[in-house]
């Protein structure tokens, strides 16, 4: 599989999937806006262990590649529906072979105030893990197999709404 490197869009949210290293620095710089005082970046990294699997050395992400961006876009739409003050939003996922420490997913959200950027970023990472058609195959010291931490691929029906927002304190 060969996918093009990721580049920020002229307009709208930056959403993409790539088999190249994810542009974390470029993402948060792109997401910073004059009216946004809060910016949260979440990076999901390849960890050296998983449940009952010590010594993880690599992961291979397989994707239904044509449906990744549409699903990520639905996550972005949901986030914007709930956090109307969202400035910029970045949702990027990597596929292919990754080593321990590699960045597998990046979520960046900028908002005028900090609470909303934390909330929106958490909503996006939590939701994309349940909705985007990607599968993780783990190699560890005892063998290799599909991740046991998998979720039924839910759609965006009622029940997927974000948790109620707490009142902003400042």
């Amino acid at each position: 599989m060969t996918l093009p490197p990721l580049a920020p869009p002229q307009t709208g949210d930056w959403i993409g999937v790539s088999d190249h290293a994810l542009p974390v620095d470029e993402a948060w710089k792109w997401a910073s806006l004059p009216h946004c005082g809060g910016l949260v970046t979440f990076c999901g990294l390849v960890r050296d262990h998983s449940e009952h699997r010590p010594g993880v050395t690599s992961l291979e992400y397989e994707a239904y590649i044509e449906q990744v961006v549409p699903r990520l876009s639905e996550v972005a739409t949901q986030a914007r529906a709930h956090w109307g003050e969202l400035g910029r939003l970045v949702l990027l996922h990597r596929v292919g072979m990754l080593r321990v420490g590699d960045v597998a997913v990046v979520v960046t959200a900028s908002t005028p105030h900090r609470d909303e950027s934390f909330e929106a970023a958490k909503f996006c990472i939590d939701t994309l893990k349940h909705t985007v058609p990607i599968w993780k195959h783990e190699t560890w010291e005892g063998g290799s197999d599909w991740s046991t931490c998998a979720h039924d691929a839910s759609s965006f029906d009622a029940g997927d709404a974000p948790v109620a927002r707490p009142a902003r304190s400042s």
Binding site: A63, Q67, V132, P133, I134, W135, K136, C149, A153, S155
Partner: protein, 78 residues
Amino acid sequence: MARLRLFGPAREAAGIAEAQLPGRCVGDVVAAAVARFGPDFSQILKVSRIWVNGDDAEPGALVNDNDEIAVIPPVSGG
């Protein structure tokens, strides 16, 4: 003949990533897949969703040659 796409553990169990299978509806195509790919695939199918052109589909949904049916096992991105 609808196009069937298989991913992750479903692809591994079937030993193939895609196939052309006969059937007038989603259920027919899935039944043809079970007959062709066997019991390991059938086990994965029990915990999988079926999408048609990217959306959840019921077994009775009619399909044509232009439709893409996908077996979506539990996802583990992120």
